[in-house]
Symmetry: C2
Subunit: 249 residues, 2 copies
Amino acid sequence: MGTTQLETVPEPKYWHLRTVLSEALDSEFTVGEVLPNERELAARFGVARATLRQALEQLELEGRLHRRRGVGTTVAPPRVAVEVGPEGTAWPGPDDDTWQATGSDLSAPPAAVATALALPRGTAVHVVRRSRVSHGQPVAAELLYVPETSVPDLPASDTPSGAARARAVLRELQHLDLTARNRSVELGSARADDAKQLDRLPGAPVLVVTTHFTTPARIAALSVATYRADTCRLTFGESGRVEIAEGVG
Amino acid sequence: MGTTQLETVPEPKYWHLRTVLSEALDSEFTVGEVLPNERELAARFGVARATLRQALEQLELEGRLHRRRGVGTTVAPPRVAVEVGPEGTAWPGPDDDTWQATGSDLSAPPAAVATALALPRGTAVHVVRRSRVSHGQPVAAELLYVPETSVPDLPASDTPSGAARARAVLRELQHLDLTARNRSVELGSARADDAKQLDRLPGAPVLVVTTHFTTPARIAALSVATYRADTCRLTFGESGRVEIAEGVG
């Protein structure tokens, strides 16, 4: 994948080094192995420390390396495939093992969320926090914004926050007649609170999955889920049943 | 979105600056406006140049800023929503305006692609190159790997490469009985040839969309499409027709 082609733009030095290092990772190192320190690597490849660091950052962004203070640089395992289709984001149900509700409160959402939910600014909504664990690793932190009108039968509570309250809101959501889930994926960076949940530093690259849960009448809830970009590959199953049904009908 | 919370991990200096700058972009600048140079910005916010640069890189990663040699740093427009559902990746057809076939050749795919297609290493496949333009901007560069057995009726040709050949392969693909398109999205970095097509430097962050096109018998084609992560937000429409049909049936 890292071949140079004749007609392409000239490669920066660190990019060439990244390609060489990438091949070395394939042939000489095993998953979890600690790489030599920066000084040794720079000497081995005959490059400046700054160039080496750029190449290592690049390989970290590509999920090939993990870098941790105190541990050093290790060879990363292949990325984990995390399903982001209907099955992967179900509200609690049979296959909800990997999501955990961690808290809930009533508060005003960010302006962009209020606009999407067609709410006047400052209107409080249920903000449910969930975290997702896959293969024993934290992979996502989610904020789910639920207008009070979407859960009209939610029992009143003396403790309107906390994990139990979050689960109550999620239970009520299952009564909604959802007709579509519109998702988008974009590159972002972890905010401080998400970073903590994901065991990363603030600013680490993340894949932000925004989902609009729609009923025939309106957008009933909005989820902003932040996935670790270094360890996750998001998968979207698209079964062809719709096309087959059309052919049969 | 950039609020500081009491119980969070301490914020690095550049991250705090990123939040302050982000608010300044909202309140003081308009889309396309050129920011003051680094020296002036560093002085205004009382930070070192290195800290400023980290914050600017962060905001570029988040799609808030564009940085170009010779032009300087400008305020980016909102990201473009690019559909990556069945409609957005159709082989040539009524709504294929945004995809353009740029070339094709017969060559051995990378080892990972050969494995996915269940082909012995070194088996040549049609490699169709396409580029995608949205709102006048290049947004994606795609390599589509098509085994010869998937297009058995492809006419023999004296010119087995080039854009005309690419279109011929794509036309033949429309005869396939596809039952599923399995997609994944992950963070990557632009290879030199993709970077050129996308008007970026090698190593620029990209969203890599891998699609397995499946027939009842096997994986008939595999696409690796590289989307600009700075300007694109990928959307996945998921109609709820399947659920409704279940309820009706």
